[in-house]
């Protein structure tokens, strides 16, 4: 089935989790760093994305919630990793096509 493209916050969250499990705060900081400060996730946006990804089984809670600190870590599942790879393949194709068309346009 053809999948629609991922939104930028979701893509960044998945990219952040691709390296390993992270807590919410760590994801926000990592995304900010990855995008050179261009993408700054609010907690509302982050947890909305996390909830949808959890529902779809793309990510899972890596450990039990720590009640003293009120946080838990999330990690990519195999389904999430596979879908992320598919998304990259789609983006690569798009970039290749864009390069081709742009070079033809210049010629």
């Amino acid at each position: 089935m053809t999948q629609s493209p991922l939104t930028e916050p979701v893509l960044h969250v998945l990219l952040s989790l691709a390296e390993g499990p992270r807590h919410g705060y760590s994801i926000i900081k990592d995304v900010e760093q990855m995008s050179s400060g261009r993408v700054r996730l609010s907690t509302g946006t982050l947890y909305g994305a996390l909830q949808r990804l959890l529902e779809r089984g793309w990510i899972e809670a890596a450990e039990e919630r720590d009640p003293s600190r009120g946080r838990r870590a999330y990690r990519l599942t195999s389904v999430g990793r596979r879908n992320l790879k598919q998304e990259f393949a789609r983006m690569k194709n798009l970039t290749r096509l864009a390069d081709l068309r742009m070079s033809r346009g210049r010629a």
């Binding site: 919410g24 705060y25 996730l41 609010s42 947890y47 949808r52 009120g70």
Partner: protein, 161 residues
């Protein structure tokens, strides 16, 4: 700001707050501390971003929760009740009996009055066939409608995050 944050969290559906509320507050406090170290401007933009994020997120979650409940309700509404199946079986049996009666009468040479007997059976048969046809069409429409509603619901809920 934390009080405002807690207040805005109330806009989210209760299930969502139970699942993520505590965690969101903890993360918010950490990010807030960072921003306070970067000056007033950073704190101001952070506050704006958080308020906008919470408003956007709460509306989205409310809509999703409504869609989910609507989906459940629609599925229930479009489930065919038992009486409808019984009624359809009765209609089908009546049609078959009418066909059989008509066949027997035609082979016996119409024992009833030639005028009424000739009209009654075809008329009844036509009515029953019509009812049956309408039932099948209605049944088909209901199935099509059910499929469309399910597809729409799946699309609205199944949009990639």
């Amino acid at each position: 700001m934390l009080q405002l944050y807690r207040l805005l969290l109330l806009l989210y559906p209760p299930a969502y707050r139970r699942e993520f509320g505590e965690e969101m507050i903890a993360v918010f406090r950490q990010v807030q501390r960072d921003c306070e170290n970067h000056g007033l401007k950073a704190t101001f933009y952070f506050s704006l971003r958080e308020v906008a994020g919470l408003l956007d997120g709460s509306i989205r979650e409310r809509l999703l929760a409504r869609c989910r409940s609507l989906q459940g309700g629609t599925m229930h509404a479009f489930r065919f009740p038992g009486w409808m199946i019984v009624a359809m079986v009765v209609v089908l049996m009546t049609v078959m009996m009418a066909i059989e009666t008509a066949r027997v009468m035609s082979t016996r040479g119409a024992a009833v009055s030639p005028h009424w007997g000739a009209l009654l059976v075809p008329f009844g048969f036509a009515v029953l066939t019509l009812m049956c046809g309408l039932g099948i069409i209605g049944y088909g429409l209901l199935i099509a409608l059910r499929r469309i509603v399910h597809q729409r619901m799946r699309q609205s809920l199944g949009k990639r995050p």
